[in-house]
């Protein structure tokens, strides 16, 4: 989703240091280098993606975010980005804490399980939802810990994690989310992008 990357890029200040956890083929890193003069580092599990990044001249470390975030020193990046992978970890709680240790701020985006199409799928059809943002079946999904925008909101509050900004994304339209409009936005946003820390 290109739009998501643009929204994330807009959240970051120019000339900063960014760690992209689960950086894929480096598309977001490339955008950040070119448009914001950001110094990037990537962490990626998938071999082919690692090679893609290397071919593009983007610094990438092959490794598993679940177990290998400890190699990065405390507060060594201005931002750490985790795009649509939080739900795939065995222990998202631990990973989030690690991200907050490494980055002064953290950008987390999640496919919103509170999105109305997801809700109606279960409510009316009694089946686990399959949507564009959640394309897998229940038996082969990598997503172990699905959550809603509201869940992550509550999590941050309970853990005393400072929420700086939350943006809801639906196709090409974006909107700011706060406690006041949370119920509504949690219903209509496909994706939630959190700036925390």
């Amino acid at each position: 989703m290109k739009k998501e990357f643009k929204v994330i890029a807009n959240l970051l200040s120019n000339n900063t240091r960014v760690l992209d956890v689960g950086c894929g083929d480096g598309s977001l890193m490339n955008l950040l280098v070119k448009e914001k003069n950001i110094e990037v580092r990537g962490l990626e599990l998938e071999k082919n993606n690692v090679q893609e990044c290397i071919y593009k001249g983007l610094p990438v470390i092959q490794g598993n975010a679940e177990t290998e975030l400890s190699q990065f020193p405390n507060q060594s990046f201005d931002y750490v980005i985790l795009s649509q992978t939080l739900q795939a970890f065995y222990n998202p709680d631990k990973v989030l804490k690690e991200l907050l240790r490494i980055g002064k701020s953290v950008v987390v985006s999640i496919p919103n399980f509170g999105y109305w199409k997801v809700r109606t799928s279960l409510l009316f059809f009694g089946k686990m939802p399959v949507t564009k943002s959640l394309p897998n079946k229940w038996y082969n999904t990598p997503n172990l810990h699905m959550c809603t925008i509201k869940d992550l909101f509550d999590y941050c509050d309970n853990q005393n994690i400072n929420i700086k900004k939350v943006i809801g994304l639906n196709e090409d339209s974006t909107s700011l989310i706060n406690r006041g409009n949370l119920e509504l936005k949690n219903f209509f946003s496909k994706l939630g992008i959190f700036l925390i820390g």
């Binding site: 071999k47 290397i54 071919y55 593009k56 610094p59 470390i61 190699q71 990065f72 020193p73």
Partner: protein, 379 residues
Amino acid sequence: MNRKTEYIKKINVSKPLKLDCGKTVKDFPLAYETYGKLNENKNNAILVFHALTGDQFVAETNPVTNKEGWWVTAVGPGKAIDTNKYFVICANVIGGCMGSWGPSDESKETNQPYGLDFPVITIKDIVRAQESLLEHLGIKKLLCATGGSMGGMQLLQFCATFPDKSFSAIPIACSSSHSAQNIALNELARQAIMADPVWDSGKYFLKDTQPKNGLAVARMVGHISYLSEQGMQERFGRKLQEKADYEFSFNADFQVESYLRHQGHSFVERFDANSILYITRAMDYFDLSKQFKGGLVEAFKNQKTKFLIISFSSDWLYTTKENKDIVIALNASGADVSYSEIITDKGHDSFLVNEPEFLKTLKGFIDSMYEKFKNEKRI
């Protein structure tokens, strides 16, 4: 060993070099070879550091041994390190036996080969001796420096000693300090040589001979450590060497025995036994963190070099873990570092053989660095 010395290019290093052991040396020969052409902007130079038993003849045919260069899989026209595009340089390490100053050279004091009178050298000495070569070739900043195994160790030392001499660096299958297991294997090699009566405390040159048996065993030890358990099993298994059944003797019944014997015996034709002692010692003494207070992170402080660390999954000599430790230190010091583990059963030897994933990664990184380096220079 007969050296066809007319094929060996050399410079005389006149600048005094204070060795780690305390001795100062000057006016010693450093042998090297180059491939491809240095471009006008002098921004396409790649320095290769060779491993324990390598030499400066990286590509094409080694004119001295008439065998292929040790890294023909990676270096040459159209290869991963493309000599149509890049200018590749490699120097023979001091302590070696392919033209650079080593224990088989004559000492000016005694007019005899040094033997064990040659000073014990370190990886740092080896690297510092090569600085003059870059000066001689007129290269201020390399596009890239690379090397596997001991070559990678030299490269780490090179980056720590000269943090601004190379735009990028690719240490391959190496370590920032020699492990107990590696020291033990090197000691095995040394003891094999020293246990050969022909070695004669390193004075075999007086009789114009070599401790061939000991040196061959030393080489066999090496070859076992360069392969993986799985790779060796797949390649040799329990296959017999050109025979239908056991001979009930101690001849080489098994293919793996025959392979090791062949590797051992062909090695003694091209390598000096004392050189093995000196170079393995240099490897054992290597501990980059010991040179810097505060350890490895301090060694890589203020690095401008862009690193790519590569390890091989089945390498048990320089393991993925040891390579990752380098990545962690580089990360902690804020350096620009990439890391890739190549999944292969070819063991430590993976960087020398045709391993497509590895060669693709090498090429992709170097080509992208060249584009960046060109643009940086323009600014």
